[in-house]
Symmetry: C2
Subunit: 201 residues, 2 copies
Amino acid sequence: MKEKNTEAKILEAAKAVFIEKGKDGAKMQAIADKAKINKALLHYYFRSKDKLFNVVIEETMFHFLPKVEETFLSDDNFFDKIRKVVSDYISLLSENPFIPAFMLHEINRNPDGLFNVMMKSGIRIDLIFTTIQKELQNNTINIVSPQHFFINLLSLCIFPIAARPLMQRAMFFNDQKAYDDFIEERKTQTAEFILKAIKVS
Amino acid sequence: MKEKNTEAKILEAAKAVFIEKGKDGAKMQAIADKAKINKALLHYYFRSKDKLFNVVIEETMFHFLPKVEETFLSDDNFFDKIRKVVSDYISLLSENPFIPAFMLHEINRNPDGLFNVMMKSGIRIDLIFTTIQKELQNNTINIVSPQHFFINLLSLCIFPIAARPLMQRAMFFNDQKAYDDFIEERKTQTAEFILKAIKVS
DNA sequence: AATCGGTTTAACCATTTGGTTAATTAATTC
DNA sequence: GAATTAATTAACCAAATGGTTAAACCGATT
């Protein structure tokens, strides 16, 4: 039989189920169903739920972590970098709307495990801070610290996607398109909000 | 026996366990152990896991939702209101560090259920928007819309607590006190960041 | 076509888990 | 203080769930 790559089919299904339901809420049977295979095949390929989940976590981190660093280390104008990183990151997350809440849940469920994976990803958060620090010394921006600035940026990009299901209901009468438009606006407005807050006056 | 109020003891334990582990990760036995009672007593008082969880959700929402509205509807100067709501909300959340990620997870797990509870809480988000809108018409602030402004404010308060376990490791070498200080700074700096971003220039 | 290795499945197993029952103990009422 | 009601527990149950096993299947090799 072997119509396609079974392992890839399983991983795709596992990602979808784990990210939507969380590790505890996800059932191996549900993953098998989604991949249209027998449950025993899951264990044939990945041994255990823990092992499978770890692979999902690693692939997810490798997929979503580097984007920020990448843009920050380019040699664009600093303000344009902010515009780009905000827009790109909001785009990426809004196409994967369960990722933010999933990751935040996992951050609290197993912080050490996540942090180890993050280290393995080779991301260099200190390089981002250095870039910001340099800009700070050039007197083009006015911020308290690179850490505050960076967290502010992440907050404004990630939270509106993580909280979407409630915010869409509470602010837009559960109008899907209204929130889509809202997110679309945020791709530019969030950067302008940040820039106004940090520009030297 | 009946040393204290058993029902309250159970609820306290249930809150702690549910909020730390999430609905799926929480086990009834763990709640019983934490409350130091027999598992059957849980069902004697609350019938089922679902029922118990609903009570926890309701109490949690009633505890954490109204604070924002309260401050916003006071008749302080608008800028002082922002300073106060930001400081108070960051304080409240940092004393209950699992709440943000728990709520965000729940928002995605069961948005309709959560929204219904929110409605029952009597919170009037539209009144907050009206307050902001009025300020907008008085030309004292420069924002895109009350919705953007409100989400920005929530993002900057909530995300840094929700992501703390990872951020503390990634940014401060897992130094507890360093992150405590960081949060303490945010109580004032976040408001100033927002104010700079919205003040008419 | 017989065989051999990797792949897939149906059936099964052991543990965990939410929930129940029947009996015991503590309070309350008469 | 006996009778009645409420609170609490140990033991048990059934379903769900992660994981295993042995057999079947399939494609390639000889």
